[in-house]
């Protein structure tokens, strides 16, 4: 799955969750992330996982998208195995914390076009920070796509062989060189585009962010209920 797939799902996805105003979704994400961070109970983490999976269902997101959480899951499993001497519960708690955080972020980016996410961020963060976020997001996925294409080309042209180490090293060096050249060209092209469009220290990003729909209020209430529930449990325990 690459940026075009994520963008496609975010823009053309048709569900109640997709139709909610972006600012409501960003606030909900912050509330749920805060709940994940402050919760110190395995039960709460399991409940949050259940809630997130239900929201994936509401948003009509396929398992292919939830697969994006595999990386933090694997990372957390390794972590959990290493800390298993503290007990299975603690290991599971650590793993769920990482997976839940990732699922929350994936839910946001696959139901909200990234331009709208950055538009919400631009209301609270300094312009420079938002611009750097924007450029990083674009560049990362463009470079990742480029790496994938280069690696495919290398395999098709016989530039990779499991047993020929020196051939592989030479190929990887050439791939990196090409990638850097491509990145440089991309950077120069972006600079020209910014100059042509009169960039003056802020990339203008506009989106309709007014919270007004019934579903917006429902989602915000849900986020608040989750947070209050976690805080109450936290204090009681």
């Amino acid at each position: 799955m690459n940026i075009s797939d994520i963008d496609y799902v975010a823009i053309y996805g048709n569900s109640k969750f997709h139709n909610i105003t972006s600012s409501a979704k960003v606030i909900f994400t912050c509330l749920v992330l805060t709940s994940i961070i402050i919760s110190q109970s395995l039960i709460v983490q399991i409940a949050l996982l259940g809630l997130l999976l239900s929201l994936y269902k509401v948003a009509n997101l396929s398992l292919r998208i939830a697969r994006l959480a595999i990386y933090p899951a694997i990372f957390a499993i390794i972590f959990a195995v290493l800390v298993s001497r503290q007990g299975l519960d603690y290991s599971l708690y650590i793993m769920l914390k990482a997976v839940n955080a990732a699922l929350t972020m994936i839910l946001l980016i696959t139901t909200t076009p990234y331009v709208e996410v950055f538009a919400v961020m631009s209301k609270v963060l300094p312009d420079l920070l938002v611009d750097v976020f924007f450029m990083t997001y674009r560049s990362f996925f463009i470079l990742l796509d480029r790496i994938n294409s280069l690696l495919k080309a290398v395999k098709v042209k016989g530039g990779y062989h499991p047993l020929r180490v020196f051939l592989n090293i030479r190929t990887i060096a050439a791939v990196l060189g090409t990638l850097i050249l491509h990145a440089l060209d991309m950077s120069e092209r972006m600079y020209k585009i910014l100059e042509l469009r009169g960039y003056s220290g802020k990339i203008p990003i506009e989106a309709n962010m007014k919270i007004h729909k019934k579903d917006d209020y429902f989602l915000l209430s849900l986020g608040l209920i989750v947070l209050v529930g976690v805080v109450l449990q936290w204090n009681i325990l």
């Binding site: 994940i36 955080a101 990732a102 420079l128 990083t136 972006m190 910014l194 003056s200």
Partner: protein
Amino acid sequence: MSHIHFPDGIIPLYIWIPAYLVTFGIIFLITKTIEKEKIKKLLPLTGIAAALMLIGMSVPLVIIPVHLSLAVLTGILIGPKLGFVVVFVVGLILASFGHGGITIVGINTLVIGSEVFVGSMLFRLLGKKKKLLGVVFSTVIALVISLALMVSVVGYTAGFENALPHTHLEHSHEHEEHIDHHEDHHEHSGELEESISNINYLFFSGWVALILIFVFGIALETIVTSLIVMFFYKVRPSLIDSAHNFANN
């Protein structure tokens, strides 16, 4: 190289909140002092440096139990100010996808930000006349400083044995004991000795293995950074010079 992977809930509140506040303070100062023209010129390269850093930080090296950060490279390419902003952005993106906790982003930004700052300033000082030597020297010194900072932070908050590379992924274990039982120094130092003796790398173990891992890690990061910077000099010599005003000095 020096990148803390603690999940949320390990680092105490009195450490991570001030770290976030200091980070935001520095970012606020940067946004107020950086020249608009410089941002326009370097913004596209900033995105690319951040993307390279993201890729470097998310891919484990396997042959060494650490991973690249490419922070010094970022500092050399775009300077210390934008470099610091990039470190925060990359840290936040990684944390959002489960690579370390969100509460650790402020501390990580300060630790890796120091790497960016020291590396960039040293390169500015030494790289004008002797480029390769400048890159190598600034990378090594910056890595040693940030590594020391990371070990200090991890050691203070969760015990020094958790800062060791073989426990790279297990920073959270026994955190409660480490935070609450500072008084038990003897047991603590015994644990540290035991942890060090358990480190194995290639045919070595204990302190030798630990030093080898750090040396290999620093050497690898230095080699990669030097190769990329020299490649940039070969294909676009003006790029780095303009970021450090070498042509004007």
